[in-house]
Amino acid sequence: MADLDLDLDDIQGLIVRGYRKPTARHLLLRIDRREAFRAMLGDLATEDRASGPYITVAADWIDKPPAGVKATHCVNIGFSYEGLKALGLPSSSLESFPEEFGQGAVARAAEVGDTGPSAPEHWAPSLLSPAAHVLLSVFADSPEELESVSADLRGRAGRGAATELDRFDARALPGEVAHFGYRDGLAQPTIEGLPMAGLPDPFPLSPPGEFLLGYPSQHAGFTFPVPEPEALGRNGSFGAFRILEQDVHAFERFLTEESERAGIDRELLAAKIVGRWRNGVPLTMSPDTYSPSPPIPQEQLNCFDYVKTAAVEQDYDDPKGLTCPVGAHIRRANPRSQPVAGGGGLTHRIVRRGLPYGPPYDPHHPDDGQERGLVGMFIGVSIRDQFEFVMSEWLNDGIFAAGLGRTKDPLIGANEPHESRFAIPGTTPVQMAGFSRFVTTRGGAYCFLPSMTALRHMADQTGEEVTGP
């Protein structure tokens, strides 16, 4: 195994761990004057950290809590293909980026199931514009801090560098649950050479080359092509930015109606749909109750599999989904060691970052007309093989596993009432049909997350005109 020696001062912190800040603001920027924007990049990527908001790197966050002074805010930056072009990257460099990134999230929408109500024509218009160049993300300990840092950044951009096209705010809910009421973020891949980001799991470590450009990937003999020049591509990554509206009222109504119709406990139904009880306890480890006795320690909530494997002490063996339905959300998003088409149940992992947006759902005022959902970033070295693959093969289709047909994820899939189905196997199997989607895509963007070296490289370029291939 190679000695990795990752340069943690070069890699954007967001790739390595979620900051768990309670507030976030994603500023969508249009690059106006290249020279001014390059100067702004130079400031943000400066090695002199005393001069105001700067890009948070992995080294700042390698210990939890971070060593030294605890940062009250974090900043990260991503570029769309159009943004790299607007910045004046030569065409030889632009052409070295992956095809799906070059096409962008709007063009690739159908690929990932963003059709019907989730299609781009319903997205925030700012994200449809070719001027959606840069995503500048601020994460802060408080709304006041968020305002102050955003204002500072807007001030810098305001010197002719960039125009704010839009902003997407997010805020943690009380109790650290997502809008649908589930604890989230328990499962994250552990990247070799970096501290664990989620809970421990029994799976092989992900090589850095699954989440960072320029390192061997998990595929024998293969490194994902590094965008050129190397100073630009190395230590970077890609993220699929997503704004996902969640119809909590519809979901709760569905639980009520279906649990009555099928005669099963409402919370059990909620668990069967996701694969975890709402408090995070996995069905596989506790099929009958969210409160097993003795309780499952926090750090074991991810130590399970769907088939017998030497890596897990307990013999979980659930090929037919009697404990956790094969079509349940977490089993689709991460099939673990179960047999799947291609044999790659463990080779399409994604790093997930996200925070809710919108006010908490109040069951006493269910039809409040407020939009709520999740603002997320799904990170990996290959948008096509990670984010897009999971969306199209595992979440919005069923042929990857036995017995699912063409069905989609019951919680987040692009379900249409005339064809949606969800099966709960068991001694009394339950079949659900006719439900609509509970999650609607409201926007997306494919972003390149450059390293500090890359940002300084971009800042050092000169000329307002494209300098040619």
Partner: protein, 173 residues
């Protein structure tokens, strides 16, 4: 009990304990696709070596045959055969497989790349080898040498994948 899936054409086929009421398969595009990969062998001598290599591998017991173990792990290939054509000047790899070939190229090469290295080294127009290091070129090579078939591709069970059939027949993986 294997679950029968929703429909391509809209509308519902009724489902009984024994399975769905048969729908005329010609109306549905199958989940399975044909691979008709025909590759030119480099020379007479290459053919001799290739033929010996293939025979040796194919005579191994199943549990030691790398082709068998790779295809079993991949779990999307229903059938596969190797056929020498045109007076032993071409090797055909003929399979029926589930789903989208392109999307699974990374997983395929991980499991069966070595087998293709073994075969491609004898071809007149081989892509850069080993395939695990040159995945896009391998994908392009397969695409350009795949004769597929004259549509429509007939399937007796157009909606059943390898995984569905293994589960329904109680075969263990």
């Amino acid at each position: 009990m294997s679950e029968q899936p929703g429909q391509e054409q809209g509308g519902q086929a009724s489902t009984t304990a024994a399975g769905p009421t048969p729908v005329a398969p010609a109306a549905e595009k199958p989940i399975q696709s044909p691979l008709t990969l025909v590759m030119p062998i480099a020379s007479e001598e290459a053919y001799q070596q290739l033929s010996q290599t293939l025979l040796k591998v194919q005579s191994l017991p199943a549990e030691q045959n790398p082709i068998v173990s790779a295809l079993t792990k991949i779990a999307t290939v229903h059938f596969a055969r190797f056929v020498f054509l045109e007076n032993n000047t071409r090797l055909a790899v003929i399979t029926t497989y589930d789903g989208d070939f392109d999307k699974y190229i990374m997983d395929f090469v991980d499991h069966i790349g070595d087998v293709f290295d073994m075969l491609l080294q004898f071809m007149a127009d081989a892509p850069p080898l080993p395939v695990r290091e040159h995945r896009q070129e391998f994908l392009d090579y397969v695409r350009s040498h795949d004769l597929r078939g004259i549509e429509p591709f007939y399937s007796a069970y157009p909606q059943s994948t390898v995984l569905d059939i293994l589960q329904a027949t109680g075969a263990s993986q």
